[in-house]
């Protein structure tokens, strides 16, 4: 009797979890594609190749192409110094790396407006030198870097701490230079963790809305990224086009998920295991 009720409880729990996922994740995802294809493939295609849509896609790719590599460099350098060396202010640095996670993206955007906007600290100087950051691509890139910079570092710090310094010291004792040690020993040791962090960083860089929305100025065809373009279309009641562009972002999420799973299963890199 108790065994039966245990089995029942198990089935009930699994069913509840699946229903929850279906209701809040799968159904909305399907509805995105459903709404996008509501008026047929032709309408879908037209919305995607619309010049403004194409320019939003290009800008999103450009921003990710700048932000992600910079965050790889920053993340590796930060994780390296935190995991392998002791220095004063180390815990402060760790806290700062987490800052973008705890600050609302809108606030992050406003920080940059405050600094580089027309009325901002550097506003006059920038205007004098004819440099535009806010309501232009540089501002979008800065805001995206700010929002995404914890991803790579957070992934690598526990991994590199766990691995310790032995491998690097072994390489150095065999006569390798610092660069050789990094390229031939450290980098291969962290490659799957790094790839994992890059995937998450990239997904967020392409999907970021709040911070980018504040600094972008929403200039159609100029400073609109994909998420901003979706919002504009939606506010114009252009639902098919809005969902068509949104479906591209949804596909990015799906591709990220699949790649993430491949990294986890195929190469034995478990996200949780690096945390111990």
């Amino acid at each position: 009797m108790s065994a039966l009720s245990f089995i029942r409880a198990r089935h009930l729990l699994i069913a509840a979890a699946l229903a929850f996922i279906a209701l809040f994740l799968v159904l909305p995802l399907i509805s995105v594609f459903f709404a996008a294809l509501q008026k047929g493939l032709a309408a879908y295609g037209a919305a995607v190749v619309d010049p403004d849509a194409l320019s939003a896609i290009r800008l999103t790719l450009l921003v990710a192409a700048i932000a992600v590599p910079l965050n790889i460099v920053f993340g590796v350098v930060a994780a390296w110094s935190i995991a392998k060396f002791d220095f004063p202010g180390k815990s402060l640095l760790v806290t700062f790396i987490d800052l973008p996670f705890s600050v609302s993206p809108v606030v992050a955007g406003l920080i940059f407006v405050l600094m580089f906007g027309a009325q901002g600290w550097f506003g006059t100087w920038l205007q004098d030198h004819d440099v535009q950051i806010i309501f232009a691509v540089p501002g979008i890139v800065l805001a995206t870097i700010f929002v995404t910079f914890p991803f790579v570092a957070r992934e690598l710090i526990p991994l590199m701490s766990e691995q310790g310094r032995d491998d690097e010291e072994a390489a150095l004792s065999l006569g390798a230079s610092g660069l050789q040690t990094f390229l031939r020993v450290t980098l291969p040791n962290i490659r799957w963790g790094l790839l994992y962090g890059v995937l998450l960083c990239n997904a967020r860089a392409m999907g970021e809305f709040g911070a980018v929305s504040v600094v972008s100025g929403h200039l159609r065809g100029i400073t609109n990224t994909m998420p901003l373009h979706v919002e504009i279309l939606y506010n114009e009641y252009n639902f098919v086009a809005a969902f068509a562009v949104a479906s591209l972002l949804a596909m990015l999420a799906l591709v990220t998920l699949v790649l993430k799973s491949i990294v986890e299963w195929r190469f034995g890199y478990h996200h949780g295991s690096a945390r111990h």
Partner: protein, 329 residues
């Protein structure tokens, strides 16, 4: 010859090494023996150039290398957990030291491969060059680490707890093998261990350390038979502490008849078991401390509960003013 003069290393207030001086002769097999926290590994890392002293000097053959980095010291270092590069084959691991040399000094790929194969033969792992470290046993990994360290033709081989991660059987075989290799290659080797048996079996000389200072330097025979301090007597081999600072080894205690003997001590037998070729008798002393003694296996051992009298054949007395040996006539 390696000379260490007044080496001091502090971590905050704590002195990991306190004014340590030591000479290592060419061709010598030297053990740094001590419990954890004794500073033995720190000393090894300072000799290697993986750590640097706050005070003192390190000299190799009269040349000051105190501030030289590990890469410039021509030492081979075998890490406690081997630190093999997981993503490289065994042959690539062994050849690593040659492959990172500057262009011009770097051998060709084929030469590196040939050298790696040669070294793998030397450590009896011929034919395993294409495997990855994860596919090897602990003892095999240890030998790969050794071959990798030897590939750069070091003048000095340094080993940090070389047998620490191996099971007892493999450990024993590898010990003997390492001893042979050291002799055959004419190396100077220093290894760190917390295992006194290992130090006594392998080393030409043993450096016993505790709390960042050297307690005694001597041959295994000297360290075991003539411990300079109570710590050495306690740490190297088994020791019973009797009242009055008297230290006596279990095999130096004998059971005596009668009560007239002035040196005799009364014991109540608590436990008896077979230990190799002897009976090990554990007795309780009058002050409730445990005393261990060995009884020849051919003799009838006492039974638990028996009251026996024992006498040290050979003992060492440590007083605040010094140490004194006693030999029973």
């Amino acid at each position: 010859m390696i000379t260490l003069q007044g080496i001091t290393k502090r971590y905050g207030q704590y002195a990991a090494l306190d004014n340590v001086s030591l000479e290592v002769r060419d061709g010598e097999f030297l053990a740094l023996l001590g419990p954890s926290g004794s500073g033995k590994t720190t000393l090894l890392r300072i000799i290697a150039g993986l750590a640097f002293p706050d005070e003192g000097r390190v000299q190799f053959n009269g040349e000051d290398v105190t501030h030289l980095k590990v890469a410039d010291r021509k030492v081979g270092f075998v890490f406690q957990h081997y630190a093999l590069f997981k993503h490289m084959t065994v042959a690539d691991n062994v050849g690593f030291g040659l492959s990172v040399r500057k262009r011009g000094q770097r051998p060709t790929k084929d030469q590196i491969k040939a050298r790696a194969d040669e070294l793998l033969d030397l450590v009896q792992l011929g034919g395993l060059g294409e495997r990855y470290p994860a596919q090897l046993s602990g003892g095999q990994r240890q030998r790969v680490a050794l071959a990798r360290a030897l590939a750069v033709e070091p003048q000095l081989l340094l080993l940090d707890e070389p047998f620490g991660a191996l099971d007892a059987k493999v450990r024993k075989t590898l010990r003997r093998w390492l001893r042979d290799l050291h002799k055959r290659m004419g190396l100077t080797s220093i290894f760190v261990t917390h295992d006194q048996e290992e130090a006594l079996e392998l080393a030409d000389r043993v450096v016993v350390m505790d709390h960042g200072v050297i307690e005694q330097i001597g041959t295994p025979e000297q360290v075991y038979m003539e411990p300079a301090t109570p710590f050495v007597s306690d740490f190297v081999g088994e020791t019973n502490r009797l009242p009055g600072g008297v230290h006596v080894r279990p095999h130096d205690l004998e059971i005596i008849d009668g009560t007239s003997e002035p040196d005799g001590h009364e014991l109540i037998v608590d436990n008896i078991f077979r230990k190799g070729g002897v009976w090990r008798v554990e007795g309780i002393f009058s002050d409730e401390s445990v005393v261990e003694l060995d009884v020849d296996a051919s003799l009838q051992p006492p039974s638990p509960g028996d009251s026996i009298r024992v006498r040290p054949r050979r003992s060492k007395t440590f007083t605040p003013t010094g140490a004194k040996s006693h030999e029973q006539a």
